[in-house]
């Protein structure tokens, strides 16, 4: 029997290859007083390894499943769409909320993301004020208000 990790203790997985964007996002989340741990994956491959508990992430205790994925679309190698597809196709991951967090306002990107099962689509802002606002909203909505799926849930018909 696996003990349930309280949802709030589950980290956020930030999938982002640009180190400056990583720092800006982390800075904004800190400023929004987010206490949840954030694990950063620098590529699509790393994100999938983490989520599927492969390679260096095989220890689920050290690397527990996240409560939310913040996913950039434009990643080297395996891109955000492929991550999204694999997450939503895997029985243990498919209910995991994935928030696309990208610089593209392109309609085609928005449509493709939702088609692959994204739960939300946010555009990276240019100004600090907007970025802080987004960090607060993520904190308030996705991590507090929104009731996420329990771990190891089975399909209910």
């Amino acid at each position: 029997m696996v003990s349930e990790i309280p949802r709030v203790e589950r980290p956020i997985l930030l999938v982002e290859d640009n180190p400056m964007d990583v720092e800006l996002t982390l800075d904004a989340l800190r400023e929004a007083r987010l206490r949840t741990a954030v694990h950063v994956a620098r590529s699509g491959g790393e994100a999938l390894d983490y989520l599927f508990g492969r390679q260096q992430y095989s220890d689920r205790k050290a690397y527990p499943l996240p409560s939310l994925v913040l996913l950039d679309l434009h990643l080297p190698g395996i891109d955000g769409y492929e991550c999204l597809r694999q997450i939503k196709a895997a029985p243990i991951l498919k209910r995991l909320p994935v928030v696309v967090f990208t610089s593209s306002r392109d309609d085609s990107d928005v449509v493709k993301s939702y088609d692959r099962g994204a739960n939300s689509y946010l555009v990276k802002p240019a100004s600090a004020t907007e970025r802080l606002e987004i960090a607060r909203q993520i904190h308030r909505y996705w991590l507090s208000l929104n009731l996420g799926p329990p771990l190891f849930a089975t399909d209910q018909t």
């Binding site: 400056m20 800006l24 434009h74 610089s103 593209s104 306002r105 392109d106 240019a126 600090a128």
Partner: protein, 637 residues
């Protein structure tokens, strides 16, 4: 030769015993002169009666001539009886319309075939024409038998006279005696003359009748010709290729000129090769359709190039080098031939080439028809060539349009990739610049001196401006890919929505915006209309005079086919010399610290208006503001 007993012996010995033969009456059998005269008169009238009966029996010209000449052979016990036309010493040609002979002395001239008149013949005809009655040649007459007639035709004596039917030229008729040197008796001469008179009358009526028939036949032929030409015209109209035209024409032409070989031969541009494009034929020739053959430059070709048709009585008798086709025709037993030039723009492009087994088959009438057809085909070929050119040109154009479209699509695709890449690759570093500058300017403000703070503020505002620039540029680029969604749109609805979206700016500037209520509907794209009026209203609010609240008025006017919308402000105005330039991308009249902006807004307006098939321009307003006018078509095309 000239002694009478010998002659009479021959007469009684050689002449066939035909009842009523004039010779019997004249040879004498020991009875009295009175009786002889009586008998001679009796025979005279008896024989004339035979002629009359032949003439009066219903028959055609050929039959009548044949019958009369047969009677003449029998009555005069001569060897040949003949008719010649015309009896004209000046005519170039002559012919023997009919001749009857005793089996021992067959005819030597073809019936009904024109022959050139030689001086000997001309001399005979002159003699006949100058003489009021029959003329005897040979013994007993004043004229000798011409040498050629004696040797070639074995004529020893002959009698002939000119006769004058009321239709056409004079004829002549005559009798040959080959078996002996006959002396024609006065009785015989009188009978001959009398028969000549009857013959002349008979010819008059039959020739007139034949003329009428000929006219009728001509009329019928003419009608047929017209109808066939008409058919050919119609076929040419529906035919698309030269091949089709040629085949159709030849099939129809066969009805008008029923010869054994009809073909259309084409030449290449430098007249070195010829080939048959279509044929209608009885004999199989040793040439293939479309197979190029070298052109044989001969006299005939020169004549054709000069636009003159050629008729050859007999191809086999032609002198000089022959074309491959002519050789093949001769080999196949063809004789008569005709070639009619097809001329386009003074160049010989081909010939209508016909051939027949019969020598001298082609007549003047054939030539007339064939020339007309050849000219028609030449025109049709020219048209077919032009229409092929147009088709080719159209196909070429289609292909080029396809290529251009593909190129354009490629360019559009590249543009899309470019704008996509700009939005990410340019924005990512910019976001870092702006983000960290803002953090420093805010969070570490205290650890900076005045200069440091000022410079970080510059970085922050410059990067914000650059972000706006990238956004606007991407909007502008996206317009090129925008698919126009035409719908009927009420202008007041769009304008009030635009005004609503500008509420903050309106409040900030304390602006007053007046939208006319009575504005029409137009065919347009909602997103483009929104963008046009958002940009125009924004400009009107931003470019206001310092200390003067913006007043913006939107009105419309109708013309028969368009709607003109006018957005008028009381702002800073636009100098006349910049009224075109302001619509170009990145054109700004002011520095960013005077008025913010990227210089793309009006370029987007113009591009959007043009996408809606409209035009936009600026007018000045009396109190110094400007009025942007847009003409929209009321209905999309």
């Amino acid at each position: 030769m000239n002694d009478t007993p010998d002659e009479s012996q021959k007469l009684s010995g050689d002449a066939p015993s035909i009842p009523g033969r004039l010779g019997d009456a004249l040879s004498g059998s020991g009875e009295g002169v009175q009786t002889e005269h009586h008998l001679a008169d009796l025979h005279f009238f008896e024989n004339l009666d035979r002629i009359n009966r032949v003439i009066q029996s219903p028959s055609d010209l050929d039959q009548m001539m044949r019958d009369i000449l047969d009677v003449l052979l029998s009555v005069f016990a001569c060897d040949r009886a003949w008719l010649v036309f015309p009896c004209d010493p000046d005519a170039p040609m002559w012919q023997v319309p009919m001749e009857r002979t005793r089996p021992e002395y067959p005819g030597v001239l073809p019936i009904g075939v024109e022959l050139p008149l030689d001086p000997v013949g001309a001399a005979v005809y002159r003699t006949l024409r100058e003489s009021p009655g029959p003329v005897q040649f040979g013994p007993g007459g004043v004229h000798p038998v011409p040498v050629e007639m004696a040797t070639v035709f074995q004529v020893q004596s002959f009698i002939a006279m000119a006769i004058y039917p009321k239709v056409g030229k004079p004829w002549s008729y005559g009798l040959h005696q080959c078996s002996y040197a006959r002396i024609w008796t006065p009785q015989e001469v009188r009978l001959f003359q009398e028969i000549g008179r009857r013959l002349s009358d008979a010819l008059s009526s039959l020739l007139s009748y034949r003329d009428v028939q000929e006219s009728e036949r001509r009329l019928r032929r003419y009608n047929l010709r017209l109808s066939v030409l008409h058919d050919i015209d119609r076929r040419i109209l529906v035919a698309s290729s030269q091949q089709e035209i040629a085949s159709a024409v030849l099939q129809h032409l066969l009805h008008l000129i029923p010869c054994e070989w009809l073909s259309i031969v084409l030449y290449n541009a430098d007249m070195t090769e010829e080939w048959i494009i279509a044929w209608e034929h009885a004999p199989q020739l040793d040439v293939a359709l479309g197979d190029p053959q070298p052109v044989v430059p001969n006299q005939g070709l020169e004549q054709l190039q000069a636009g003159v048709s050629i008729i050859a009585a007999d191809l086999a008798a032609q002198e000089g080098p022959r074309a491959r086709l002519a050789d093949a025709l001769v080999e196949a037993g063809m004789h008569g031939a005709m070639a009619n030039p097809m001329i386009v723009e003074e160049r010989l492009i081909g010939v209508l080439a016909l051939s027949a087994k019969q020598i001298g088959f082609f007549t003047e009438e054939h030539r007339e028809i064939a020339e007309e057809i050849a000219a028609q085909v030449a025109i049709a070929f020219r048209q077919a060539e032009l229409s092929e050119q147009i088709d080719r040109y159209n196909r070429d154009l289609e292909r080029r349009v396809k290529e251009r479209t593909a190129e354009l699509e490629r360019a559009n695709h590249e543009m899309a990739l470019f704008s996509y890449s700009v939005s990410h690759d340019l924005r990512a570093p910019l976001r870092a610049v702006q983000g960290f500058a803002e953090i420093i300017a805010r969070r570490h403000r205290d650890s900076l001196n005045d200069e440091g703070r000022r410079y970080f503020d510059y970085i922050v505002s410059a990067s914000a401006q650059m972000d706006q620039l990238i956004s606007d540029l991407l909007d502008y680029v996206r317009l090129g890919r925008h698919r126009i969604d035409w719908e009927r749109i009420a202008l007041p609805e769009v304008l009030s929505r635009v005004a609503d979206s500008l509420t903050t700016l309106i409040a900030q500037t304390e602006a007053h915006i007046h939208l006319a209520q009575a504005m029409p509907e137009i065919d347009a794209d909602r997103m483009l209309l929104m963008r046009i009026f958002t940009n125009l209203l924004e400009n009107a609010l931003v470019y206001h005079r310092p200390g003067v609240a913006p007043r913006v008025e939107v009105t419309s006017a109708l013309t028969p086919d368009s709607v003109i919308v006018r957005v008028q402000d009381n702002g800073i105005g636009i100098p006349v010399e910049f009224r075109e330039k302001i619509f170009d991308i990145f054109q700004r009249l002011h520095s960013p610290d005077q008025f913010p902006g990227t210089g793309i807004g009006l370029a987007v307006v113009r591009r959007s208006v043009e996408l809606l098939n409209g035009t936009v321009w600026v007018e000045s307003v009396e109190d110094g503001g400007s009025a942007f006018c847009i003409r929209f078509p009321r209905r999309a095309a």
